[in-house]
Structures are given as C-alpha cells and as structure tokens.
C-alpha cells in the first residue's frame, strides 16, 4: 500500500465565480458549495466565511478541522462510508491543499450548543493564539451550518462533521489535475516479515484508541469507514488508512489524523532505526471484562500477527480510557513487547508527593515508559487580544481580550502528541 501525496501549496483563499486553484490562490464558488452542503436535511442554511492568516479574526466553537484532500483516479472514493460510497484509501495518489483548512464552527443554539460536549475550541488568526495552533497559519474556509428544525444535537454534530469532509473533498478536487509543488510518499515496503536481507531493526506497532464507550456512539458518526464502531474489537489497519480518510473522531481533529504526528514520526524513522509494521485501532471499553478482552486481543495481534518488538499507545479521552491503556500495555509487556505510552493528563492529584505527574492506573510496574502530553488545566495562559472580526456564535462575549489556556486553542494540543507541552510538578 503505497500512498503518494500530491501537495499543492495554498497561500490565499477567495470567493469567485468558479472554484479553482492558480498560483497558490484557492478560489471558491460559494453558492455552489453552499448548495451541496444544504442538501443534508439535518441542516438548514450553511454560511461560509473565509479567514486568512494575519487577519485580526477570531473563529469560535470550532468543532473540527480538515485538510482539503481528494483522491486521484476514476472511481476514487474519499472518506469511505462517511460520504456514502465505500472504497479503498491509503494507496495510489491523493491531492493535498497544504496551507488550507476547512473549519466547521458549531452553531447549535441554546444551552446544548454551549455544553461541554459540543463546545469546540477557538482559532485566532493573529497574535499569541495563532502561534500555538496549526489553524492560525492556514487559509481557512469556515462553515457555519445551522441545524434544521427539530434536529437533535447528536444528529447535528454528525451532519456538520460530514459537511466538513464534503467541503474538504470539494476544494481539493480543484487540484487533482494540477502539477503538485511537492510529493510525499508513505510506504511500509519492503516489509521486514517477508524480506530476510533487510537489516535487523526493531519492529514497532501503534495501538491507537479511537473511541471511548463512556458515551454512546452517535448514530451515523463516521468513525471508521463510515461506521460508528459500536462494539468494535481491536482491528489491524495500515497507517496510510489513518492519513487517507478511513478514520474520523469527535475528540481528535480530522486535520491531525490526516497528519498524524506519531505515525509521521514512525515513518520518518522507518527503515533507519525501526520498522513500522502496522496500526491496531481499538476502543476504550467501560467495564472490566471488556477492558480485559480488548487488551488481550490487541496484545495478541501485536505479538503474534504483527510480530512487534515495541508498541506505542495513545488513548481517547480522560481518565477512564487509561485503564484500557494500562491493561493493554501490561499484556504487551508480559508477551515480551516493550511499550511506550503518551498521555494527556485529566485530573491530576496535586497532593501527590511524586516528582512527576502520574497516570490513573497502577500496579503495572512493567509499564515504565510514559511521555506527558500536558494537562488541560496546567496552562500556560495566553492573553488573546481584541479581534476586529469574529466568525461564529458567542461573538459578543468573545469579541474582547480573552485569557485562555493553550489547550483551549483548537489544534494546539491533542491526544496524539502534536504539541511540545509536557506537565511538570513544582
């Protein structure tokens, strides 16, 4: 499975009569795109705004960010299952509009729209906020969909997720016939299990939690090939499927999945200091027996099918998913696989005397290699200046100077290690 990304660099974005790309300018026919998005009966009108880096512009309630990408070739399928058709992703060629992003700003009215579950994050296109997150530096196409009458919050969130994906594909389709500015190739071949002439390097797999059973899955949420994976067991996939649209989540920006930092780092080292041998996607179950089951299956897959020497693990969520992580890592270690975990802390015990921040799980001394991804209550604080323009809901409250933690800037931190932040005790 060899994936070639045809990267086209975008420097500016504008609305015009015809959607197209020329010398770094992405032009968009706003009415044409709106019509496509408004076909979804869960949505009412869909406003679209543009925001360029450097503008004193703030975007609120950003729910998802997607890099515009579209696959090349006749009959190609993008975001399989999510946009209707099934198909293969992760091989062949995909056009990428680098320097651009689609942002969906959640516009559900009332208390539900302000609830923690739906809240989203802020994007500032200038100042300290722009420096810490990726989307302050991208040319943003912001969708502002209203829900249609009677649509529940959960249906609305799924609908706007899909609207973002549709927009990403629509925009990138304008680039599929153009000569790319650069290409990136992602290929796990030659595969060490089939070639004995290759140097001996450790084989590394990535166990990737993409869903937590703390909440019921949203009906229609296109988590994996369009399915909301209720009841999923650990499943082996190719890393390119993560990059190329097989997975979306509610807690990790699609943009960050498309540019998954841990997979990119593993690929960077592939063939030099390690072999990347595969990805195991899993859920974080909500009860003991299911946690044990998920841990057993994932560890067995890593050991006996992928023949991994080492495994990296991340989690999906706060404290509860750490139980699955700890159990899985322990089982791996007991099978002889070395593990390293990356965790974002939720609810640290500040009364602890230990010199370092801690996890939730305990009694697993073999799980001794853990990287901190920061905590969402540990700052640092940013003073975000007064914007000249606000896109999205809550514009009155947010059109002023704000003090926010870095973790409240959309995309600045994540569960998968794109940030340099780590938590320290003093």
């Amino acid at each position: 499975m060899r994936l070639e990304l045809n990267v086209i660099n975008i420097k500016k974005v504008q609305f015009t009569k015809k959607t197209g790309i020329d010398k770094g300018m992405l032009s968009i026919n706003r009415e044409e795109l709106q019509k496509i998005l408004e076909e979804d009966t869960r949505l009412g009108s869909v406003d679209i705004e543009l925001a360029q880096p450097g503008e004193k512009c703030r975007i609120t309630r950003v729910f998802d960010a997607i890099e515009p990408r579209a696959r090349l070739g006749n009959g190609s399928v993008d975001f399989p299952g999510a946009l209707g058709k099934q198909g293969v992703v992760g091989d062949g060629k995909t056009c990428v509009l680098r320097g651009a992003a689609v942002l969906t700003s959640q516009c559900f009215t009332g208390a539900e729209g302000q609830s923690r579950r739906a809240a989203g994050g802020i994007v500032d296109m200038w100042g300290p906020g722009a420096e810490v997150g990726p989307y302050g530096g991208t040319c943003n196409v912001v969708l502002l969909p209203s829900p249609s009458q009677g649509t529940s919050l959960s249906d609305y969130l799924v609908a706007i997720k899909i609207a973002g994906l549709k927009t990403a594909v629509y925009l990138a389709k304008a680039g599929v016939d153009l000569t790319p500015n650069e290409t990136e190739v992602y290929d796990m071949e030659p595969f060490p299990l089939t070639r004995r002439d290759l140097p001996e390097l450790p084989r590394v797999a990535y166990i990737f939690q993409i869903f937590s059973n703390q909440q019921l899955p949203l009906p229609g949420d296109p988590v994996f090939y369009g399915d909301n994976i209720d009841g999923i067991v650990p499943t082996i996939i190719h890393p390119n499927e993560v990059f190329d649209g097989a997975i979306t989540t509610l807690s990790i920006d699609t943009y960050l999945l498309q540019n998954h930092p841990i997979l990119k780092e593993l690929y960077r080292n592939h063939g030099k200091s390690l072999y990347l041998v595969g990805v195991i996607i899993t859920n974080a179950p909500n009860n003991g027996p299911a946690i044990e089951r998920a841990a057993t299956i994932a560890a067995n897959q890593a050991k006996f099918i992928l023949r991994a020497d080492g495994v990296i693990l991340t989690k999906y969520g706060g404290g509860a998913p750490e139980m699955t992580m700890g159990a899985t890592a322990q089982k791996c270690e007991r099978l002889g696989i070395r593990t390293a975990l990356a965790i974002q802390h939720a609810g640290l015990d500040t009364a602890e005397i230990s010199l370092k921040p801690s996890t939730i799980f305990t009694d697993t001394p073999e799980v001794d290699a853990i990287v901190s991804l920061g905590t969402n209550v540990g700052g640092p604080d940013l003073t975000l200046p007064v914007p000249e323009r606000v896109i999205g809901m809550d514009s009155v409250q947010l059109a002023k100077e704000l003090v926010r933690q870095v973790s409240q800037i959309k995309g600045a931190t994540s569960l998968i290690g794109n940030s340099k932040l780590m938590t320290v005790r003093y």
Partner: protein, 350 residues
C-alpha cells in the same frame, strides 16, 4: 549585595541538647546564636546569613498543643527579627517532622517570613505540609546531616536571592502541589518514539510520568449480623436533586451532597438530575434507581435481608476528581456513617 540574613533555627529537645525522649515534654525556649546542627547551617551560609537565635521545644509538648506551642515559639523568636526560619532537619522522626512543618507554616502565616525544613520522604510531616512549606528531601538518618544542611541552605539562598526555583528533582525539595505545563524541546510524538527506541535498545531513559502510589486500603471486617445492619448508599455517578441545589460540579468536584431518603420507597426521574461529565447519563435519568438502588434496598428491608436502609444517600461526580478530594469526601462520609451506626455501604460508580 543583599544584607546578611537573620536566621532563626528550630530544633527539638534532642538536637537542641536538652535531652532525649525523657525530655520530650519540655516547653519552648530560645537561645541566642546557633546550637548543634545550627552551627553547620551557619558554616554553610558563611557571610550570607547569621543564625541569630535557636528555638528549642520538646516533641511531645509541641505535638500535644500544636497551635499553642507554635504561638509560644513565635512570641519567643519575634524579638530576634528573623528574615527566615529553618527547622530541623527531622529525617525520619515523625513527631519532630510534624512539628517542623507546623512551625514553618505558622511562621509564614503569622510573621510573614519564609521558612524551610527538611525530612525524609516517609516522614508524616511531608504529606501534611508539603503544599504549604518548602521541605527539603533528606536521608532517613543523621548520617545524611551534611547533605541535608547543604540542601536546606541552597534552598534558602534561592528563596532570598530571587533566583528562579528549579524543579523538585534539581533543588531537592518535595513537590508543592503545583502542576504546570512547560514546553519540551520536541513534540510529544517525537519524545514517545525516542523513548521507545531507547527502551528497545536497552539504553537508559527517563519516564516523564509515573504511576501513583496508592496507599493500601484495608477492608473492614465483615458484617456478622446483616439482617439487623444499617446499610447506606453512596455514589460517584453524579445523582443530584432536580436543579442541583448544592451546585456539585460535573467534573473536578469539590463537594458531595447528602440527600434524604426518608419516606422514599423508590427514586423518581422527575425528582433527580444526573450531573456527570464522564458517561452517558440518559439511562440513569430515566430511572435513578439504576445508579442508587433505593427500590431494591427497600425490598430487602421488607424481606428482612437487611435491617434498614440508611436515611440519606451521598453523591458526588467522579470525573477528573483530584485524589486528595476523593480521600476527603470518603473520610467525611465515613465519619458520619460510623456515628450513625451504619455497618455497610454499597458504593456505585460509573
């Protein structure tokens, strides 16, 4: 050049040269200049400071009247106009460590000056005072006195020079409960791959995160007469009366509620809300007995399986709860239940 620091040193009866255990009831006294380990402190500080006085108090005297003893000592040392107080080091001596922590805390609050002490990690004084007081990590015995003095004086110097304090591992003090994010030199993704590679190669690596050290929980002895016992219901599933009158937070809870079950045979959906950010609460809202099983308990009362259901249930939300907060809740609830003659608790979690 900063002015010479006026240091007052606190010692117990043993280090103060009064006597051993038999003198532990001695009340507070103050002497001019340095005594015993205070001389080593003086030497380590050189021209930077002067041990102008030493306060000495018996460990038992202090332990029995803590606040009063602290006030007495403060009155004795006030005339010496200290800029800073150094207490101990106490090593593993528990009463002494607690006294050192207490006197440091009192001095900070009542004289508005800084205070530093030192003790071994298992000294109970560490857990009680580490958030309020700078406590240097020492060895467990007097053999590590020199190292302890050096560390304490180093900390005093940093505190008074205005130099930025290093991490606890750098400046050898117990973490004070401050948790912050700092920028590492590389992303988390780069660091986790690098850490795995080191581990795979058998090279030394340093984990950035540790597992918590939970204190072992000793189970209570079994209930021998369940048919006459009072059993209580406690939950961290976030059940609250409609409107959440006590405003219990849905995450990082800082309180728990107590709600009457008097005359209630079953919990009705209309009377309760579920305020919890970590699970889908719809099923509990539909029928709160799923979380707090009042209906089943009432049946057990009728069938004389248990003696009585306790007249209140206790509830909080267990989401990102600070462990020390959870301990506080547990201790408070347990104290009330014991006083009310309750022998058992059914604790439901989500």
């Amino acid at each position: 050049m900063a002015k010479k620091l006026r240091v007052v040193h606190y010692l117990n009866q043993f280090f103060g040269g009064i006597g051993g255990e038999e003198k532990a009831n001695t009340g507070p006294q103050v002497f001019g200049g340095a005594i015993g380990p205070g001389r080593a402190i003086q030497k380590a500080m050189g021209d930077h400071g002067e041990v102008v006085a030493t306060a000495v108090c018996g460990d038992n005297y202090f332990g029995e009247k803590m606040e009063q003893a602290a006030d007495e000592i403060i009155d004795l040392i006030r005339p010496y106009k200290p800029d800073i107080v150094i207490a101990g080091p106490a090593f593993e001596a528990g009463r002494y460590g607690v006294a050192c922590g207490a006197i440091c805390k009192a001095v900070q609050e009542k004289l508005g000056i800084r205070a530093v002490t030192g003790m071994y990690e298992e000294n109970p004084g560490v857990e009680i005072y580490h958030k309020d007081v700078w406590i240097i990590q020492t060895g467990d015995s007097i053999r590590s006195m020199n190292e302890a003095i050096t560390r304490m004086v180093n900390l005093v110097t940093k505190l008074t020079d205005g130099e930025k304090m290093g991490k606890p591992s750098e400046d050898n003090y117990f973490p004070r409960g401050i948790v912050v994010n700092e920028e590492a030199d590389r992303t988390g993704a780069e660091r986790v791959v690098d850490m795995l590679l080191k581990k795979l190669r058998g090279e030394p690596f340093e984990s950035e995160v540790v597992q918590p050290k939970h204190l072992p929980v000793v189970p209570a002895s079994r209930i021998t007469n369940i048919e006459s016992a009072i059993i209580a219901l406690v939950t961290d599933g976030g059940l609250v009366p409609i409107g959440n009158p006590d405003k219990i937070e849905a995450s990082n809870a800082t309180k728990f509620g107590e709600y009457s079950l008097s005359g209630i045979q079953t919990l009705n959906s209309a009377d309760y809300d579920v305020n919890h950010g970590g699970y889908d609460t719809a099923l509990v809202k539909q029928n709160p007995n799923r979380l707090v099983p009042v209906d089943a308990m009432r049946q057990m009362e009728k069938d004389k399986v248990i003696g009585k259901l306790y007249e209140k249930f206790y509830a909080t939300a267990g989401v990102s709860t600070r462990a020390e907060m959870a301990r506080k809740f547990g201790q408070a609830i347990a104290a009330e239940l014991i006083a009310a003659g309750v022998s058992g608790v059914i604790l439901t979690s989500t």
